[in-house]
Assembly symmetry: C2
DNA sequence: AAGTGGTCTAGACCACGTA
DNA sequence: ACGTGGTCTAGACCACTTG
């Protein structure tokens, strides 16, 4: 199970990997409580402090969540995580508000070359593409094009577009068992197309902030490509550097 | 010195604050070695593990740097930190290269309302304003306007503009004893002015990515306002979310 | 009252860098 | 050889939550 001695990596690192594997394999799901530190230590034949160090690093990594007096849980993709970690647009006074969403289309289609590359899709794999407008304080501010592989997400196209929730990562987690853990964003300044401009009540040619985000699971599998075009007339993208 | 008992915060937190205070006051400077964990523990009358926990969190926060076998040091603002933490522009293939800089102006001037607000300056305080063009692979890509308070930075305007180094945060640290620890960035899409467009060899009206950065010391004092206008024809701003 | 995570101690041994 | 940080142990007590 765990290896010790010269040349092998440290025990707490092995325990980290073991815990991550249990989550990746689905043995433990978001929201589940995991065994107590003492129980894990006994099972693994190490001291509580060693288990504790492994868990501490996974908590810092947003993989696990500790609740004093209750236990340690697999992190869920809830409102707070969406707002504080995965949403960076604020209004001019610096306030963050999660926008509403209105879905324009949601269809199964062929993957574009960009989608194939960003989502590491084999040729011929279909995708689901969602277009939506997001409004902040009732003002249309962001146009989004969201792409996921048709498998396992094909149920997204069934039912009314109105049924699609505002926070998709929670849906991916609860309905499809896919948990978004990290993302890479690429930002550019672009020119509003006629279509985007009319959706956002802007003049065509107005500059927009384009965000290309690839969202990934814990084991770095790319799951979703999201291209957002944001009006930065009254909002900006906020990033903090340490 | 350290307080224990009900209602008081934990020992390791008090030690963290104590270590941060020593750095903020300048008692320890970037690059200095701090006392060993064992020595600190003896001085403070706590166990090594408690000191270790305090130091560990400061290392995660980029305040201290551990070097096995040598000791623990106050972090410096070196090349790696500039490139990996404070520079987010990459070329289209995702490679990060720190750009060259060519200074256009460096003058002492009156603060604009924006500068006064972002740098929390009292009325009547002068500032140093630097304009420079930054090139990546010999291609002008970024126009920057950099503002710092005239005190203690007035020496920046003496001497030839060519003397100003590419990496200003290292200069602030070594020459003025001011260490940048964190920054807040606000990104918008704007339209290139005639002047910016000509500097960047672009058509006027081309969209640019504007980055307004306020850089701060460890105790959150704002030090520098930097407004960068970036061509995103062949580059983008890269951000990773966890 | 029992169980959980949170803090703290004291000490062992290892890996690394310097002299 | 010595001092440093890095890992690991065993156990104590505290703070919090639940039954």
């Amino acid at each position: 199970m765990l290896t010790t001695g010269k040349g092998s990596i440290s025990l707490y690192m092995q325990i980290k990997e073991l815990l991550v594997a249990k989550i990746s394999k689905g043995e433990w799901s978001p929201g589940d409580i995991i065994p107590s530190e003492i129980n894990l230590a006994q099972e693994l034949g190490v001291s509580q402090g060693t288990v504790r160090k492994a868990i501490t690093e996974l908590v810092e990594n947003n993989v696990l969540t500790r609740k004093q007096g209750r236990g340690t849980f697999v992190s869920t993709h809830d409102f707070n995580r969406a707002l504080f970690h995965f949403f960076h647009i604020t209004d001019d006074s610096g306030h963050k508000v999660l926008p509403d969403s209105q879905v324009l289309h949601c269809r199964k289609e062929q993957a574009s070359p960009l989608e194939m590359s960003k989502l590491q899709l084999a040729a011929g794999i279909d995708i689901i593409r969602i277009d939506r407008v997001r409004s902040i304080a009732a003002k249309p501010t962001i146009i989004e094009t969201i792409t996921v592989a048709a498998e396992p997400f094909s149920n997204l196209v069934n039912g009314n577009n109105e049924d699609l929730p505002n926070m998709l990562y929670e849906l991916y987690e609860k309905q499809f068992g896919v948990t978004i853990h990290s993302a890479e964003e690429q930002l550019r300044a672009i020119v509003a197309s006629k279509q985007d401009a009319s959706q956002l009540n802007l003049q065509p040619g107005t500059p927009l902030l384009e965000i290309r985000r690839v969202a990934m699971t814990l084991d770095k599998t790319p799951v979703e490509l999201r291209i957002s075009r944001c009006s930065t007339q009254n909002h900006y993208y906020q990033n903090t550097i340490f």
